[in-house]
Symmetry: C2
Subunit: 315 residues, 2 copies
């Protein structure tokens, strides 16, 4: 099968062998996949991963329970051990011996076929097109903000970094009725938010220490510093991204102003599929380009451009 | 009156003029005061303060409502504007134009007399001796851990840094029924905890990522890194101290393991006085030495020694 493989460098491999099923795995034929910032970090060597990349996908069941075969599915990325305290508590995303599809010790979805454990799969309702279903994973991550902290309609919420994930976060937060402002640097981002009826502002335009919640989608020390500047005392900063190295952080501000800094990662696929099925999330505007899997390297180049939104891989 | 004044350097001043009362202030005669780590940071120039230092004290009302005159009181350190949104919400500790006794634009308690706004004062029950009452402010700060996060009897909680504040935090947490471990570096600290029936351990002895709550009382980048190592996924790190500069912090760990980092500062004087009146907190073991106010500079030298616990000033 065809695959995008990373092993010190990214390569398109036309003839890698098909995955073998083990345990409760089903065989999926990938229909479409999305390139995420984590993929860009992976090929920068950030997580010491080698193998087939990719964790955002929509696929079709090829081998599995008969009633599922031929049906479209999306798949959660965390494969838990099933044994540890977190798995027992129903939190495989924090399994102590966790694998993550295309990220950590598990082959990914940038390939014709993927073997994935049955319990990670969710059926895609028929009214969700592949181009939207492929956003289930990042939309679930955006929804996790609502798990990480209590969002209320009275709040002023600022999203720092309106990229691929931040754009989904602003849409999800808008649905809460809260006052959402996207902190943008590019006219393209401002236009996107404006189309959705979401306010945008540059950093200099925003009053300091007036937001109850700030979501940092930047993964940079500067983004965290901006979040600290904007959040009010006893407010919450939600961290949606990983950071390069160990950024300097003004923990004194956190202590003295009694701020809550909350890490937030993978979220509810069921919730994401409900919102997509209800047509409440615009994913179409987020698609920058489609590339066939053979042109995966060009696709990664396009995804790397500053300000790029979602680049999809077709199979 | 006599006072310890900091203005680029710390000085004992024998004849500073008495404070003049303004607004709803009462005049207090200080009976005993305690030196806190914040005082040590203040004389290192950390908060750009000049004036009379001191914010931990027990005093006697000299001028105020007639029924209070002659009575012992302790005083909250945050003087709010009374007008801003935080003051209106009953959170003067986060007032947008906050003064703090002996810390920020308000004279402190290392002097014979202090003028303090009436609403900051709390009567000291008769069974609390001055040597215990002087701990009300830091004990309230320790109690704030219980406001900052939900502590439950099932949890494993580690307190990193068993100094003046950490020792109070361990005692408060012990009362919750939770499994409390103090991370200690000195035999003196281990002995103290042992006397209270609280477990202690060195860092190397503790399993990683197994504590639901870690309280960092160190105010160092190293302390925060240790807290991150010890807290389990979705656990909470409570920050009880200010940090020098902007420490490097592994925010990726916070994001990926969905940790909550919560700043925690001043707390409930009522709660602290109830615990002291009930005899549930041992403050006596925490007193290293008494110095008369005239020997304030020597007292600060003693308070600065590594491993020093509370140094009290007598008037």
């Amino acid at each position: 099968m065809r695959a995008l493989v990373f092993d010190d460098k990214l390569q398109f491999v036309p003839d890698i062998s098909l995955p073998e099923l083990t345990g409760a795995q089903w065989l999926l034929k990938i229909r479409r996949a999305g390139i995420c910032n984590t993929d860009l970090e992976l090929i920068d060597g950030m997580y010491n991963f080698s193998g087939i990349l990719g964790h955002e996908f929509v696929a079709e069941v090829v081998e599995g329970a008969p009633e599922w075969v031929g049906k479209p599915v999306v798949g959660e990325i965390n494969v838990g051990c099933g044994e540890c305290d977190f798995c027992q508590k129903g939190i495989p995303s924090q399994c102590r011996d966790r694998k993550a599809v295309g990220i950590h010790t598990h082959p990914g979805a940038f390939a014709d076929y993927l073997a994935l454990t049955e319990r990670n799969l969710h059926a895609v309702p028929p009214n969700i097109a592949d181009d939207a279903a492929v956003f289930t994973e990042p939309l679930a991550a955006a929804l996790e903000v609502l798990e990480s902290t209590h969002i209320s309609p009275q709040q002023r919420i600022i999203v720092v970094g309106v990229g691929k994930l931040g754009a989904l976060v602003t849409q999800v937060l808008k649905l809460s009725g809260a006052g959402v402002i996207g902190l943008v640097r590019r006219e393209k981002q401002a236009q996107l938010l404006d189309n959705w009826g979401i306010a945008s502002a540059a950093y200099e335009e925003l009053p300091k220490q007036r937001a109850q919640v700030v979501v940092d989608c930047t993964g940079t020390a500067e983004g965290f510093a901006i979040a600290l500047d904007l959040v009010e005392a006893r407010g919450t900063i939600v961290l949606k991204s990983t950071y390069k190295g160990k950024p300097q952080a003004d923990l004194t501000q956190v202590a003295v102003r009694e701020i809550r800094v909350v890490g937030s990662r993978c979220g509810s696929f069921d919730g994401a599929l409900r919102l997509l099925a209800a047509g409440l999330i615009d994913t179409q505007s987020l698609v920058d380009a489609h590339y066939p899997i053979e042109q995966g390297l060009e696709a990664f180049q396009a995804a790397k451009q500053p300000g790029a939104m979602k680049v999809l891989l077709d199979f």
